[in-house]
Symmetry: C2
Subunit: 142 residues, 2 copies
DNA sequence: TTGCGTGCAAAGGTTTTGCATGGCA
DNA sequence: TGCCATGCAAAACCTTTGCACGCAA
């Protein structure tokens, strides 16, 4: 817990802008740093870590803790965090390591099922399906 | 990916023995190393990492990634992994840490769905649902 | 002015890797 | 004998932290 945001700084603005305009999720701290570096914007790496954690606490950004080996992923969700509609699931390929982002109603029903039948409140942010992706399956069967 | 086991070594035997007799899950690599050290058994730390990853690939051990900051946890599940008939799923409570074993047809259909619709071959041995268990939900709402 | 935010560099911890040696089959 | 496995230490890696300075309110 890094605490909530108190001041509005230039670095925070830059970070938010980048996250908002990011085409897809799966943004890591190093992604942010490299972008800033290539754009001449000087934002320290430690600041990115500290600010992005604040954004998580503020509820503007989701944090995915996929694997201790890989860096944490972040995704902008904005203020209208309707978590229930369009919950996002993640699949990790055990072979190539790709992280697949999945929006799927059928998968969303899992959460309902787990809650109703098993009393278990699923946390989709942390849950990752492990397996073999499409591409690797084909390569393996060749 | 560390690959499957080819040779049967003394270190592997020691590791398996420890994991089999472990009362509960939540075993980390440093747990293993400390145990070996206190017992005079000399097994290198790198070996533990390499062997335990093999055991995961062999399907004898599950790997849990609780948090990128914390070390990974391992749990012995043994050979009787009847993957096809009544696939077993695991749910981890983020609050109390309990690991729930779940046999559920409806959950088994997830694997089918992921394969047919998304081309993803699920590995139920490695997949863990994170969330809050029944008991903790009630405690939280009190 | 107050105290939070920043930046740099260094530390922290876990996991991986290079390379020579040892051991299983 | 041919490889795989081991061990040690060093490296790689992500993330956190200490401290002095800067800046928002």
């Amino acid at each position: 817990m890094a605490g909530r945001t108190k001041y509005n700084t230039k670095q925070r603005e830059l970070l938010l802008e980048y996250l908002e305009n990011a085409p897809h999720a799966h943004i890591t701290v190093s992604d942010v740093c490299e972008y800033f570096k290539s754009n001449g914007a000087s934002v320290g790496q430690a600041t990115v870590y500290r600010q992005i954690e604040k954004l998580v606490d503020d509820g503007l950004v989701n944090k995915y803790s996929i694997d201790p080996t890989c860096p944490a992923c972040f995704e902008y969700i904005g203020k209208n965090s309707h978590v229930s509609e369009g919950t996002c699931f993640h699949c990790r390929c055990e072979k190539c390591g790709t992280l697949i982002h999945m929006h799927c109603d059928e998968l969303s029903q899992i959460a309902d099922h787990l809650y109703r039948e098993h009393g278990f409140t699923l946390n989709p942010l942390r849950t990752v399906f492990y397996g073999i992706c499409d591409k690797c399956s084909k390569e393996l069967s060749e």
